[in-house]
Structures are given as C-alpha cells and as structure tokens.
C-alpha cells in the first residue's frame, strides 16, 4: 500500500475550448494539439508529472458541455470518472463564460468525486472588466478553486498544491443541487429500489443514477434493464411524464446557477465584444461567403506555392537515389526491387509530404483562430441540402489537396453517421495526385480545351461526391444529418507552437504510413511486375501483364487495353504511379514529351479512350494510403471494402457511359 501513497490520478474535465489541452500540456510538459474548435480532443490522453514527491497522472477527457450521453464524448468522460475512479476531477472553467461552465459542475458534483475548479482564462475576464469573488464562489459551491491562465502557464503550481492538499483531505466536497419536493421524492424512491441491487450499488452513485433515469438517459436505462430491479424501476418511470421531468431537471440546474451566479460574479456591462465585431464582417450577409471562398482559395494557393519547391527537391532526391541504386547495386534484381519498386513507390508518396504539412499548418491556424466554426456555420445550409453536416465541408475541401488528411479531418464531426458519410465521399474529391493523369491525357488529346477538360474532372468529382452522399442517406446510412447545435467560440490569436505541433503530428503519421503500408504495397507490385523470373519489368508476360490481361475483358467496354489495365492496377497503390507506369509500358520512361508523342501515335488510344480513362482514374478507388486511413478512422473492414467496391462500381459505370455514349455519338 505504501508505494501507492504518492500516486495521484487526476481527470481533467471541462467544456470544449476552455483551455483543457493547454493546461494539460502546461502540467505534463507534453505536446498535444490545441485548437479553437469545439470538440478537438476526441480520445482521452494521459500524461505524468512529478510534484513535491508525488507521481501525478493527468487524464485529459474529451471536452463536453454536459454528461448526459448526447455524444460518445460525454459517455467516455463520465464512464471514466465512474469506472476508473480517479482520485479527483479538475474541472477547467472558462472564467469569461461562467454560467454555462457551471452547468457541467452541477453534474460532476453528482458523480460523488472530489472536484477542484481551475478558473481559467482569468486574463480575459479581467480584461473585460468582470469581477469574480473567489471566496464567495468557493463557499457557495463548496469546492476549492484555483485561478489559472493556462496559456501563460500561470497558476499551475498553485493548482498542483491544491491537488495534493485535496488528496490528503478526506472531506467530501461539493454542494449538490436540490431539485424540489416532487422530483426529490422520486429520486428517493428510485434510490431505494436501486439499493437492493448490490452490483449497481457497488458501481454507481445512486443519487446520480436516479436523476439520470428520471431524465430518460438511454445508456443508464440499458444498464438498469439488465439488473434485478428492472421491472420495479420501470414501474416508477412509467408513472411520470418523462419530458416534463427532463425539462424540469435541466431547468433546476440553470436556475440554481442563476441564483448563485450574481453573488459570485459581476459581469462588465459590455456592449460588443471584439469577437462580435470581427463576426460582423466575417459572417456578414454579403461579405461572409466571398471572404470564406477567398480564405479557402488563399489556403490552397499557399499550400501549393510553398510546397512546390520542396516537392521538386524531394523528386530530385529520389530520382538521384534511384539512379544511384540502379547503377551501383548488385545483383540486378535487387537493384530493380529497390530502385523501381521501393524508391520509386515510396518517393511518389513522400512527394506529398510538403503539401500535407502546409495544409495542416494552415488548417490549424484557421482552427485556432475560431474561424473553422464559422466556416461550418456559413456552409451548413448548403451541406444540409446534400445530406451532410456543416462540419463536413472542411474535410471535403481538404480532399482537393490529399484525401488522406481530409479523411482524418472528419474526426471533428461528432455524429457517427455524418462522419461515416463524409469519409466515404471524400475519395471522390479529386486530389492532387490525380492531376498528373489529367495533365498528361487532357494535354495530349484536347489541346486548347485541356483546361476545360481538367476543370470538368474536378466538377465531376464533386457531383459524384454529392450524389453519393444523397444516395447513402436514402439507403445504407439512413436519416437526416445531426442537428447543428454548435458554439461559435470567441476569436483568438492562433498559437504558432500549437499549429506546428498539429502539422508535425499529422505529417509524421503520413510519413509513417508511407514507411509501412505503402512500402508493402509497392513491394508486392514490384514482385508481380518482375516475375516469373527473367521477364522484362512490367511487361506483357510478367504477372502484372497477366493480371492486366485478366482485367482486360472487364475494362475493355471502357476502352482500356491490357497496358492501361496494368497502369490502373498500379494506380491502386498511389494514383501518381499511373502516369509513370504508362510511361514504362509504352517504353518511353519518364519523358513526358515522348510519352505524349507515343500516345498520339498509338491507334489504341483516342481522345475518347483518354476521357474514359480520366473519369475512371478520378473515381475508381482511393489509393492504398487513403484506404488504410478509411480503415483506421471507421474501424471497420466492412466499410473499407464497401468504399473500394462502391468506388470501382461508380467508376466503371461512369467510364462506361462516357466511352459507349461517346462511341454512339460518333467520337
């Protein structure tokens, strides 16, 4: 027991955006991403610190407004507090937004755990002229309170002192709310019934559970329904007007806060906050959309402008490396594996690293400023019309850069079904890797119209994404998008450090993927292209060639011969490989000019074939990297396989329509 004596487990709870992650980082010295977007902390994270001889474990719970099981986040948070029984909970409270923050406090108190309030953002409250009477507040809530400014690391030691003090204090703190005679009577009645079930008594605070039942909490009802007292509880619950109770209980919490609030805080009489003034411009009826579009356009311009020199450098480096390997490595097959397979394959994926880094950096700045919430606010109407949520817009947009981070960005969408739909349709958004295919074929076959053709591809991608979202809503993922009940947080100056951390975390994840799955993918393809032993790399008699022939009957109606089929198989690893492998298959290697010439000279490739090929490439399936994040983010093979099959089916149908329709029209 003795060694346990200096261990303290503390959970951090709080509304979204109150500085929880900032405080977590300040205490533990770790580097977590902070943002100004409701709900950024999706999973709980823990960190450690040593303080005055104690080992303190800090768990950063998801930010929630309440613990009523509206979302997964709320269930995760409260289950942690109930089941893992931390020694205490620190609730971070936004001093500039006390009323709504205290609502969560009233619920935490019912969980019968020790609570410390960290009154954060004190600088903002002071700046605004609010006055908070700390002693009075401690007295009225019966909890210890510590003032902090997490972003300046102020008040941290004081807070840790309090943690230790509380740890050694056996008194139970916190004033629970009284709900009035009628409700209290029911609470008492239910509590008495629950007390008969030892399993429940051991695990849950009975008063809390009774209140949750009266509020109609499905999650708790399920638990009780499996217990020995199910029927008795249901008898009581059937006798009341659930809706009425639910409203009354929430009402009572807020009215209690209304009574306490004026006694602990005088709010400055502010006419218009800075944030309100910024919003008058940024979400203005007429300016809102133009500003939004130019910001997004600017972000993309910056992404590509900054990334291009780095991309060129990476390309040069890999070309050099491949050259080195092919001249110096022995035996020849090994040189081919490393050069043609691994280096070329991994290089073609790593080339997007600069894009991804910059995209995430900019996104994190937008998020940290509070603008992303406005973007969702501005776009929700449009998105709702196509069966999606306002929050889906940013991931879709990011898809134009690279589908991989875009799919990851869907994490900020709380509703599971909204998120799933977003993940499934993002692959149709034409990412940067598909552009070289359009440039080659549109440039070769459509001359002056090349720009229009490429633009049409982008539009087609969007249309397919939109139509698919609608289709999913009607079939496999039925229902309406989740309601848009979202806080628009005050604008803040984004933190550079935090943006850099965000950029690094996501970029590193992508690189890691290039090092694992993609490496595996390119190796397999190299093996297929090099065997049976002795064939020319990627030639008709290699396994890839055989596979190409195998697929040919299936792809023939779209106008593709075996060589294009092979290229498309390669394209599954990464779409940017398509152009390279067509080069190999047409025997001209990397030279684009020569490739154009030989494509033009080849009777098997017409403008119509190439149009069909572009359509198919746009839609047919996400690359290995995108597929692996789909698996990771949905946690389901079923949906991953669905995404692949659906993509191939749509691509096939669209390319079929283009090719056969074109032929009928005489092209």
């Amino acid at each position: 027991m003795l060694e346990d004596n200096n261990k303290i487990k503390v959970a951090l709870a709080g509304n979204p955006n109150v500085g929880k992650t900032t405080l977590f980082n300040a205490i533990t010295g770790s580097k977590q991403h902070v943002g100004n977007w409701p709900g950024v902390t999706v999973e709980k994270k823990s960190g450690f610190t040593k303080y005055k001889g104690y080992d303190i474990e800090i768990v950063d719970l998801p930010g929630t407004y309440s613990l009523t099981a509206y979302s997964m986040d709320e269930i995760v948070s409260r289950n942690f507090i109930i089941e893992e029984k931390p020694d205490m909970v620190i609730q971070i409270v936004d001093a500039s937004n006390l009323e709504r923050n205290l609502y969560l406090t009233t619920q935490l108190m019912e969980l019968e755990t020790k609570i410390i309030l960290a009154l954060n953002m004190c600088d903002l409250a002071t700046e605004r002229g609010d006055k908070i009477y700390l002693n009075k507040m401690e007295e009225m809530l019966a909890t210890p309170i510590v003032k902090t400014v997490a972003s300046q690391e102020k008040g941290i030691n004081h807070l840790l002192d309090k943690v230790i003090e509380e740890r050694n204090n056996d008194q139970h703190h916190g004033h629970e709310i009284g709900y009035g005679d009628e409700i209290e009577e029911k609470i008492f009645e239910i509590e008495k019934i629950l007390a008969n079930d030892t399993e429940i008594t051991e695990k849950y605070p009975l008063r809390w559970m009774s209140i949750r039942l009266l509020e109609g909490d499905e999650n708790i009802k399920d638990k009780v329904n499996k217990s020995s007292v199910a029927s008795k509880i249901n008898d009581v619950l059937d006798s009341i007007d659930q809706e009425e109770y639910e409203a009354d209980i929430a009402d009572k919490r807020y009215s209690t806060i209304n009574i306490i609030f004026p006694q602990i805080c005088t709010r400055a009489n502010q006419v218009l906050t800075k944030s309100d003034m910024i919003d008058r411009v940024l979400t203005n009826k007429y300016l809102g959309i133009p500003i939004f579009l130019s910001l997004m356009w600017g972000a993309f311009e910056l992404t590509f402008a900054f990334a291009t020199p780095f991309m060129d450098m990476i390309e040069i480096a890999f070309t050099w490396l491949a050259g080195m390997v092919s001249t110096n490595l022995q035996p020849a097959w090994l040189a081919s594996l490393v050069g043609d397979g691994i280096i070329a394959g991994v290089g073609s994926v790593l080339i997007f690293v600069p894009n991804i880094f910059i995209l995430f950096f900019l996104l994190s700045l937008l998020e940290g400023s509070g603008y992303l919430a406005r973007a969702a606010f501005i776009m929700d109407r449009l998105m709702y019309k196509i069966g999606m949520h306002g929050k889906s817009f940013i991931p879709m947009l990011m898809g134009f850069g690279c589908n991989v981070p875009a799919i990851m960005a869907a994490r900020s969408i709380e509703d599971d079904r909204d998120r799933l739909i977003t993940i499934l349709v993002v692959p149709f958004v034409s990412c940067g890797a598909r552009l070289p295919i359009y440039i080659l074929f549109a440039g070769t076959f459509f001359g002056r119209q090349a720009g229009t053709v490429i633009f049409a591809m982008y539009v087609l991608g969007i249309l397919v994404a939109v139509a698919s979202a609608k289709l999913f809503r009607l079939t496999v993922i039925k229902g309406k998008p989740a309601p848009f009940i979202m806080e628009l947080p005050p604008y803040r100056v984004p933190k550079l450090k935090s943006a850099l951390i965000h950029m690094w975390d996501n970029g590193a994840m992508y690189i890691k993927k290039a090092g694992t799955i993609i490496l595996l993918g390119v190796t397999i393809i190299w093996i297929l292209a090099s065997f049976p032993w002795g064939v020319e790399y990627g030639s008709e008699s290699s396994y890839v060639g055989i596979i190409g022939h195998l697929f040919e009957p299936f792809l023939r109606p779209l106008g593709f011969d075996w060589r294009i089929s092979v290229a498309l198989v390669f394209g599954f690893v990464a779409k940017e490989i398509v152009v390279g492998s067509i080069g190999v298959l047409f025997g001209v290697g990397d030279n684009q000019e020569a490739l154009s010439q030989s494509l033009l000279a080849d009777p098997g490739i017409t403008p119509l074939n190439s149009m069909s090929l572009m359509v198919f490439s746009l839609l047919y399936m996400p690359c290995v990297a995108a597929m692996s994040v789909i698996k990771k983010e949905t946690g389901s093979w079923k949906w991953t396989i669905f995404a692949i099959l659906y993509g191939v089916a749509v691509a096939w149908i669209m390319a079929f329509v283009v090719y056969q329709g074109g032929k009928l029209l005489g092209y």
Partner: protein, 82 residues
C-alpha cells in the same frame, strides 16, 4: 393566456431579445442537448444574425454565442422582450 408577443425562436429579427417559454423540440437527445447548452425556460436569448445563406441562426445566450438551425428554433417558444 396567449399574449401577443409570444412567438417561436426562428421568427426573431436580428437584435431581438426574448425569454424562452418552452422547448418543444422532438427527439429527446436533441432536446437534452439544447437544455445542456442553456436553452431552458426562463433563459434570455438574443438573435445575433442569420448565416449568409439564411440558416442556421446565431444567438447570444448565457453570455456566449450559439448557433442552431431554423428547424429546431421553430419548436422553441419564446416571449419577445421590448
């Protein structure tokens, strides 16, 4: 006892302040979420603006800014304050 300035939340004009009377939104989890965000009977609420495309709406309530769609606002009954 229907007073003349009783209406639903979606009909407010920007700048209008109102007192919430009753939340009749269907779907208990949505209703509870609204409660959690401070949309309870007795709260004072002000319409700040409509989104550029007309929906959702942005309100000020309990000192912070909250946005909800018209669809939900339609089922929230309020009394307009002068």
């Amino acid at each position: 006892m229907l007073s003349t300035n009783e209406t639903t939340l979606d009909t407010l004009k920007p700048g209008d302040k109102a007192k919430i009377l009753k939340v009749r939104v269907k779907g208990s989890s949505i209703r509870r979420k609204l409660f959690d965000m401070g949309i309870v009977a007795g709260s004072e609420i002000q319409l700040i603006r409509r989104a550029p495309l007309g929906d959702p709406l942005e309100f000020k309530i309990k000192g912070y800014n909250l946005s909800i769609r018209k669809m939900e606002a339609r089922d929230i009954f309020v009394q307009v304050l002068e």
